[in-house]
């Protein structure tokens, strides 16, 4: 690690998370708080929800000799640690695709393993399994579940078309594009109606699927949703009519 790298990391560590940088979203009879960093905090349940970490995506590509910068896991865990420190939740739910592939947990560096174990053992930790990580190993700690129902809301990885309950899911990596000042801006976003919410992907190397893609049509009939776009220090609610395709 070179000097400039260390300096950069230090600066980031010093940055404090502003827990108010977000917006409340009403989901069924519950109010959840969507944060600009891409996590969802549920005050009544003291639960923090984070989706699609895709840890070890960089090393997953490396096994195919595509050498992406090997800093994605550390960056993702670092950001998550700071959010957990700031929100102090009783429970953390990782909403699936926490690792990019099944061998991901075995490729964690010692340092990243340590950071992750500290996180997992510090709270009640629940791994929801996703399509990228269907069989998470026990040694990671925490509980592995297909889905979990908390206070009438079902938390699962893949959104279902007509869920019984109000639903929070991930999987789709939503992002939205809007125009302003003669140019267009694209960023990750939460997508929510009154009965369902799709989480943005949290991992450093996770790309995005535009909310105007057909995959969202079946989940939000008639385009009844708002996109909450992630800004650097704020969350921006955008009506679906302002979201651009592409």
């Amino acid at each position: 690690m070179n000097a400039s790298h260390v300096a950069k990391m230090d600066a980031k560590d010093g940055e404090l998370i502003d827990v108010s940088a977000g917006l409340p979203i009403k989901l069924g009879d519950q109010t959840l708080f969507a944060h600009a960093a891409g996590v969802l905090y549920w005050p009544d349940q003291e639960t923090l929800i984070v989706s699609d970490l895709h840890l070890e995506k960089g090393s997953s590509f490396a096994t195919k000799q595509v050498f992406l910068p090997p800093y994605d896991t550390a960056a993702t865990l670092d950001q998550l640690s700071r959010l957990i420190k700031a929100f102090k939740p009783q429970r953390v739910v990782a909403l699936g695709d926490s690792f990019h592939d099944g061998e991901g947990p075995d490729r964690l560096s010692i340092k990243d393993q340590l950071v992750l174990t500290t996180l997992v053992t510090g709270t009640e930790w629940i791994w929801i399994s996703g399509n990228h990580d269907p069989d998470l190993p026990d040694h990671l700690g925490g509980r592995v579940m297909e889905e979990i129902v908390i206070g009438n809301i079902t938390l699962r990885h893949e959104p279902t078309e007509s869920p019984k309950n109000t639903e929070v899911a991930g999987h789709l990596h939503p992002c939205a594009r809007i125009r302003g000042r003669g140019r267009t801006i694209r960023s990750r976003c939460f997508v929510a109606s009154s009965t369902r919410l799709i989480m943005p992907a949290f991992g450093a190397f996770t790309g995005g699927l535009n909310v105007r893609d057909a995959a969202f049509d079946a989940l939000f009939p008639g385009g009844q949703y708002h996109a909450y776009m992630l800004g650097s220090k704020k969350l921006f609610p955008i009506a679906n009519s302002s979201c651009l395709p592409g």
Binding site: S4, H5, K8, A62, Y71, A75, A204, P245, G246
Partner: protein, 856 residues
């Protein structure tokens, strides 16, 4: 050392009788430089031949090989095949094909036992396989194919009999990444065959010594070695003139509509005319306008890069057959292909560089003893000055080809993997070999080791990927491929030309929007241009104003619209920026009223007016004008540094003005000047501080952090270096997917390892490419302390052309043109004010009368 050419008679003895007889039968005699190259070959010397087009340059290059091969003993049945004797490398596939055709004639006519074959990306794989087993005596190919051949396991055997490498159009290759790739390949060939001779063929360049050094091994940067230089007799001076049209000279724009009648008359008066333009859209426009007035139905064709290949080939064939009268074309016809009996070259718009002009003029008249004939058609008043400067330069033989820069690091990485695909290598030996290439002569060992590390595992300071390495250092001290799959991937991704992702522009209706399958395809447009648009935005494409409905996969859906002006000015892709050399000459011309005498009256009048109303800057000064107009405040600066540098300057200036709360609204950049407008008057600002060099520090950093341009440059470097791959065995990643993921990689890399090799390569590219930061920086230091600021009450004559560029693009269609013309007149009247001559008013009234429809 320059070779003084011996009298021909002394050298004729070097030519075998069969060749002498062949020349005699043709009614030709060998030229001095052709014989000089024979002499070089006999002495085993590498050389650079500089010759104008039509001087028999290609034959000169091949003559020694033909003579040598004439006596090569025939292979006995069952004996080992003989390898390639002469390797010819050209920048264009089509040029290689053309040269093969030209070589066949003398070989057949003299009955020489010589085989000639091309090997390009278009060569079927069965033929390529066969060529490896049974190579031709002379192989004609491209830099990418050379790299591929060198990366195969039997590369050394394949080149076992190689004696000569001929690099054609070498001056165009050495300033690009393809040149870097080829330089590295030639160093490999020299390692295989230490005595191989390099022969460079070039048009006239500003610094031939650089090319002479590029061709041979460099072992000491302090004492560069050079190939021998042979300069052919320049032939007759070209006959170049600037069109003096009766029509009024436009103030701005690039369409040259005013000159179409004159151009048409010139086409009529000549056998075959090449009409060069600078952009694809200009080509379309000029072509349409010429056909509009083509009452004699002359065979006028169109040739540019976006056209279908088969259509281009048809045009080329028709030219060779002599059935065409004119071809409207872009840079695609700049290079040395012999297209038959062209007797006039017209360039529409300014040539942007003196050497480019010389090259284009060379397309006319392939008999070098007669003067080539060329006509320059400036499209606006600034271009008149630029044409004048280029013309003066051409007469006095000045050249402004760009210097060769240090070799690119992404190309180096690609090459290192290629070397490993051939065989395991030792780092020490490879470093020495690479340092012998001219572009890499200054490469440090540290940087070279970083490049190896990059190839092996990505070159990160955090060593996480050792066990997945592509190449590994083994106990015997060599670097080896870890898996044959790596070589397969390398072969699929070779090259330095990264295709920009293109979208089809598909016509739909506003009602159907993107809910349609079909729709006529109007053409293709760069994806990043569409990315700057939102549905509903209007833009100019294929000569009409279109509205974007939306994007789906690889299609951009558009509908026709009645909008009068496009909201987004069209992307000026393919435009060359003004060369530094011409810029300097235009600045001198502005400063020296004596020199205006050679300019048309209208231009003289314009400059005289500027002198009276405002000032004209001295050659080393920067003129800045500020003035109010229609509730807006304008700042015009005239650096003459080319569009790219001006665009970067515009970005930085508006950022700066924003921070100073001057509320800038926008800017426009041309080749000559930049205009910024806003809501606050900028006349009291400290211009020295505003244009201070320090804007290249933090402001540039900040802007670049989010710059789409830099991310795009990064993507190219990532692809060329092999960090990510365009093609995987069995599946192809589309351009769109790659774009997304490289942006994420860029962000993480910038955060965690800002001095990574790939970011260094990206920065080096940006500095001289899309952002032209180097030129901007030179300019800012040049003008420091030499700014002349003139605060005006109203727009100045010099500002008019820039003002007219704001939000406007030339539009086809009478109605639109009239609107533009009227809008222009209002501004011109304001600028020229009382100084306008009665003559100018009369001219314009006449023009209006012509445009008005007859009543009743």
């Amino acid at each position: 050392m320059t070779q003084s050419l011996d009298p021909i008679s002394q050298n004729l003895t070097k030519l075998p009788p069969a060749f002498l007889a062949w020349f005699a039968a043709k009614g030709w005699s060998p030229r001095a430089h052709q014989l000089a190259l024979l002499e070089k070959a006999a002495a085993q010397k590498s050389c650079l031949l500089i010759a104008p087009t039509g001087a028999g340059k290609t034959l000169a290059g091949f003559l020694p090989s033909l003579v040598d091969l004439k006596d090569r003993p025939k292979r006995k049945l069952g004996a080992m095949k003989q390898g390639v004797h002469t390797l010819y490398v050209s920048p264009l596939k089509s040029l290689a094909v053309d040269i093969a055709r030209n070589l066949e004639a003398p070989i057949a006519e003299m009955g020489l036992p010589i085989t000639v074959e091309t090997r390009t990306g278009d060569t079927p794989s069965s033929k390529r396989q066969r060529q490896k087993l049974n190579p031709p005596d002379i192989m004609l190919t491209t830099p990418e194919q050379v790299a591929l051949l060198l990366a195969s396991k039997d590369a050394d055997r394949f080149f076992d009999n190689l004696t000569t490498v001929i690099v054609d159009e070498i001056h165009t290759m050495v300033t690009s990444k393809r040149g870097d790739l080829l330089a590295l390949g030639l160093a490999r060939l020299r390692t295989f065959r230490p005595h191989v001779r390099m022969v460079g063929l070039s048009a006239t360049v500003s610094n031939p010594n650089e090319l002479c050094q590029w061709l041979v091994t460099q072992d000491d940067p302090e004492e560069p070695r050079e190939a021998d230089l042979v300069v052919a007799d320049g032939g007759a001076l070209p006959d170049i003139s600037i069109l003096t049209s009766e029509e009024r000279l436009p103030w701005s724009g690039h369409s040259a509509r005013h000159a179409m009648g004159d151009i048409y008359q010139q086409i009529k008066a000549h056998n075959i005319t090449l009409v060069f333009v600078n952009t694809r859209s200009q080509a379309e426009m000029v072509f349409q306008q010429l056909w509009h007035i083509n009452d004699d139905n002359l065979a006028i064709a169109l040739h540019h890069g976006s056209l279908d290949v088969s259509q281009r080939r048809r045009v080329e064939a028709a030219m060779v057959d002599g059935t065409l009268r004119a071809v409207v074309c872009t840079a695609t016809l700049d290079m040395g292909i012999d297209w038959g009996d062209v007797d006039l070259v017209i360039t529409v718009g300014a040539p942007k560089g003196a050497s480019r002009l010389a090259q284009r003029i060379g397309r006319a008249n392939h008999r070098m003893d007669e003067p080539s004939k060329a006509l320059l058609v400036p499209a606006n008043r600034f271009e008149v000055m630029e044409c004048r400067a280029a013309l003066d330069a051409n007469y006095i033989g000045d050249q402004d080809t760009p210097p060769i820069v240090d070799g690119a690091l992404d190309v180096l990485a690609q090459h290192i993997l290629g070397v490993a695909c051939f065989s395991p290598f030792k780092a020490d030996a490879l470093y020495l070999e690479i340092r012998q290439c001219f572009p890499y002569r200054n490469l440090t060992r540290e940087m070279f080791d970083k490049a190896i590390d990059f190839v092996a595992t990505g070159g990160y300071s955090l060593k996480a990927y050792e066990r997945y390495a592509k190449i590994k250092l083994t106990v015997d001290g060599t670097w080896r491929l870890t898996h044959p799959r790596v070589a397969q991937q390398y072969r699929m991704n070779i090259g330095t030309i990264v295709e920009m992702p293109l979208l089809n522009v598909r016509l739909t209706s506003a009602k159907r929007g993107t809910n349609t399958r079909g729709g006529r395809v109007l053409g293709q447009v760069e994806e990043y241009f569409v990315d700057t648009l939102a549905p509903g935005d209007t833009f100019l494409f294929a000569g009409q104003i279109l509205k974007l409905e939306g994007v789906r996969e690889a299609d951009a859906f558009v509908s026709k619209t009645s909008a009068k002006e496009p909201k987004v000015p069209s992307y000026a892709g393919g435009k060359f920026p003004l060369s530094t050399y011409l810029a300097d000459r235009v600045r001198s011309m502005l400063a020296d009223p004596e020199s205006w005498k050679t300019l048309p009256d209208q231009v003289q009048e314009w400059l005289t007016m500027q002198q009276a109303v405002s000032v004209l800057p001295k050659r080393d000064q920067l003129l800045i004008e500020t003035f109010p107009r229609n509730d807006r405040f304008y700042l015009m600066a005239y650096p003459f540094e080319g569009r790219l540098a001006h665009q970067t300057l515009g970005m930085l200036l508006t950022r700066r003005l924003e921070r100073l709360r001057m509320r800038p609204l926008g800017f426009v950049a041309t080749d000559y000047a930049i205009g910024v407008w806003g809501l606050k008057d900028m006349k009291h600002m400290d211009m020295g501080a505003l244009f201070h060099e320090d804007m290249l520090g933090d402001d540039l950093e900040d802007w670049l952090a989010d710059s789409v341009l830099l991310k795009r440059t990064f993507r190219y470097c990532a692809l060329i270096s092999g960090l990510i791959e365009k093609n995987y065995p069995g599946k192809e990643k589309t351009g769109r997917q790659v774009t997304m993921s490289t942006d994420l990689i860029y962000d993480v890399l910038r955060d965690h390892e800002p001095d990574h090799l790939l970011l260094q390569a990206t920065w080096a590219d940006a500095a001289r490419g899309l952002l032209d930061v180097r030129r901007l920086s030179d300019m800012l230091s040049r003008i420091s302390g030499r700014i002349v600021h003139n605060s005006l009450e109203r727009i100045s004559p010099l500002a008019v052309p820039i003002m007219l560029e704001i939000g406007k693009e030339p539009i086809i269609g009478e109605a639109n043109d009239m609107i533009l013309a009227e809008a222009s007149d209002a501004i011109i009247a304001e600028a020229m004010g009382d100084f306008e001559t009665a003559e100018a008013v009369r001219d314009r009234q006449q023009e209006k009368k012509r445009e008005r429809k007859p009543r009743g």
